[in-house]
C-alpha cells in the first residue's frame, strides 16, 4: 500500500534540539514534518498548513528582525498578526477549560 510513501521519519524533539548541525528553524520544521517538496501526511493537513503559514509569515518579517527570530535579547515573543488573532479568538470556546470563574450565567441563553 501507499504506506511507504507516507512513512516519514518521526523526529524526537528531545534529540533534535541538541543536534548542533541543524539550525533551530530546521529542527522545528523536521519535527513538525514540514519538509517541502514531499507530500503531506493525510492527517492534520489543515493544521500543518496553518503552521507552515505561521513560518512563512515569520520569514517574511525578515527585513525588520533579520536573523534574530530566536534571539532572547528581544523580550516580546512572536505573535501572529492582530487580524489573525481577532479571528481566532472571536470565540473563546477552545480555551474555555483554561478559565475558572463565576458560574456561567449566559449558558442558559
Amino acid at each position: 500500500l501507499g504506506g511507504s510513501i507516507n512513512r516519514r521519519r518521526k523526529w524526537d524533539i528531545g534529540k533534535l534540539v541538541y543536534m548542533e548541525n541543524i539550525s533551530p528553524r530546521d529542527c522545528l520544521r523536521r519535527w513538525k514534518n514540514e519538509d517541502s517538496g514531499e507530500n503531506e501526511q493525510e492527517s492534520d493537513i489543515e493544521q500543518e498548513d496553518e503552521e507552515e503559514d505561521f513560518f512563512k509569515k515569520k520569514d517574511e518579517s525578515g527585513p525588520v528582525t533579520l536573523d534574530y527570530e530566536g534571539d532572547m535579547e528581544i523580550f516580546t515573543p512572536y505573535f501572529e498578526k492582530l487580524e489573525k488573532l481577532v479571528q481566532k479568538w472571536s470565540s473563546l470556546d477552545s480555551i474555555k477549560d483554561r478559565f475558572i470563574g463565576a458560574p456561567d450565567l449566559n449558558e442558559t441563553e
Binding site: I13, V17, R25, D71, L82, L85, V86, I95
Partner: protein, 365 residues
C-alpha cells in the same frame, strides 16, 4: 593572557545577556566572537557594554576583555557579590533590559541586591516594569526566592526617559528549590495595569475599557487598574502602555504587554494586548514563553534532583532551542522532553536534572 582556562566559545550577538549570565552562574569563562561582524555598525552596542559594566559592578573579580573592534568579548566571571549600586541605563534600552538578567543572579549573591536603575522604563521589545513585577518575580517565588521587589520610583517613557526603578532582592538562597509543575494553568483571575505619563488620563481608561471588552467573554474576574503619573515623577516624555496578567490560584501566571507608540490609538493597544494574552494563555503550559528561560535556568542550577515542568508544543520555538543549546554548551546539561501520558493534549514534560550548583558565597551549614 593566560590560556589555561578554556573558554566556552559562542558566535554572534544572539542571547548575549543570557550567555553572560549563564557564564557567571557556572563560573566558566566565555568567549563571544563575531558580534555583528557583518553589520554596518560592527561590534557591541552601547547597551551591551553598559550591561557588561553592570555585571562588573555586581560581581567581584570579573575580567572583561573587549577586542579593538568590539566584535569579540572574553568574559571571565568572578563571584556574585551584589550590594547597593546605581546603574544609569543608556537611552537605547529601557531598565527592563538590565533588570531581567539580574533576576537570574540576585538570589545567589553574597550581599543583598539593591540596585537603582535610571533611564527609560518601557520600550516595544523589552521587559516592562509590570511584566517583571507581576510576571517574572512570581516565577522566582516558586523557586524559593520570596523576598524580591521592584519599586517604581519614577516612570520615564521613551525616548527621553527619566525614570527610576529600584530592584531589591532580599532572599539569598544556596540554590533554587526543585520544582514540579505538571499541570496546565487554569486561569482564575486577570489583573492588569494601564499607565500613562504626561498624557491625558483618559487614554488609560480607553485602554482599560477596550481590553475589558475583549476579556469579558473569558468569564472570569478582570481587574485592570489605572496608574496615572503626573509631575516630577513621570519622566521627561509622554507615553502610555498596558500590561495584563492572567493568574491561577497558586500564583502561576501568563502575561502580555504593549506600549503606545507614535500614532497608536489607545483602544487598539488595549485590544491587541488582550488578544495577545488570550493567545499566550492558549499556548502556555505551566508558564508562558517569557517566563520559560528563567524557569529552565533555575531548574538547571537546582539541586541534583529532577525537576519537572509542563510545556506545550507551541512553546518549543527557536528561542527555546537556542536556550537549551546555550545551557548545554555552558553547563553540559540536557533537558529531557517527554510526552505527557495522562491526556492527549500533546504537551511535553521538560525534565531537568539540576547541576547541584551552590551559592559560592554561602556558608555551608
Amino acid at each position: 593572557m593566560s590560556s589555561k582556562t578554556p573558554f566556552v566559545a559562542f558566535q554572534g550577538a544572539l542571547n548575549f545577556r543570557l550567555r553572560i549570565v549563564l557564564a557567571t552562574l557556572s563560573g566558566k569563562a566565555v568567549k563571544i566572537e563575531k558580534i555583528r561582524s557583518n553589520d554596518l555598525n560592527p561590534g557591541l552596542k552601547d547597551y551591551e557594554v553598559s550591561f557588561l559594566r553592570l555585571m562588573e559592578s555586581v560581581t567581584n573579580g570579573s575580567v572583561i576583555e573587549i577586542s579593538y573592534t568590539g566584535t569579540t568579548v572574553i568574559y571571565r566571571p568572578g563571584i556574585i557579590v551584589g550590594g547597593s549600586i546605581t546603574h544609569n541605563c543608556p537611552p537605547s534600552k529601557p531598565v527592563g533590559y538590565f533588570v531581567e538578567p539580574m533576576l537570574y543572579l540576585a538570589p545567589f549573591s553574597k550581599k543583598k541586591f539593591s540596585i537603582i536603575f535610571r533611564g527609560c522604563t518601557a520600550s516595544h521589545c523589552d521587559a516592562g516594569i509590570e511584566a517583571i513585577k507581576w510576571g517574572l518575580l512570581p516565577i522566582m517565588e516558586r523557586f524559593g526566592v520570596r523576598e524580591c521587589a521592584l519599586h517604581t520610583l519614577k516612570r520615564g517613557s521613551p525616548p527621553q526617559g527619566g525614570g527610576e526603578v529600584h530592584l531589591i532582592v532580599d532572599s539569598l538562597i544556596p540554590q533554587p528549590v526543585t520544582m514540579h509543575n505538571l499541570n496546565r494553568l487554569t486561569i482564575s483571575s486577570i489583573r492588569g495595569v494601564a499607565y500613562s505619563t504626561r498624557v491625558s488620563p483618559s487614554i488609560v481608561n480607553r485602554m482599560i475599557d477596550s481590553a475589558r471588552k475583549i476579556l469579558k467573554s473569558a468569564n472570569c474576574e478582570v481587574n485592570i487598574s489605572a496608574d496615572v503619573w503626573r509631575g516630577e515623577n513621570s519622566g521627561k516624555s509622554p507615553g502610555w502602555g498596558i500590561t495584563l496578567v492572567a493568574a491561577d490560584k497558586k500564583g502561576w501566571c501568563v502575561f502580555s504587554e504593549e506600549i503606545g507608540g507614535a500614532g497608536d490609538i489607545p483602544e487598539d493597544i488595549g485590544v491587541k494586548v488582550a488578544y495577545h494574552l488570550l493567545q499566550e494563555i492558549s499556548i502556555s503550559g505551566a508558564v508562558c514563553r517569557n517566563q520559560l528561560p528563567l524557569a529552565i535556568v533555575y531548574m538547571i542550577i537546582g539541586k541534583e534532583d529532577i525537576g519537572r515542568l509542563r510545556i506545550t508544543k507551541d512553546q518549543i520555538d527557536e528561542r527555546f532551542i537556542h536556550l537549551l543549546r546555550d545551557i548545554k554548551s555552558i553547563f553540559g546539561n540536557e533537558v529531557y522532553l517527554k510526552p505527557v501520558d495522562e491526556d492527549d493534549t500533546g504537551d511535553l514534560i521538560a525534565a531537568v536534572k539540576g547541576i547541584g550548583f551552590t551559592n559560592t558565597s554561602k556558608k555551608i551549614a
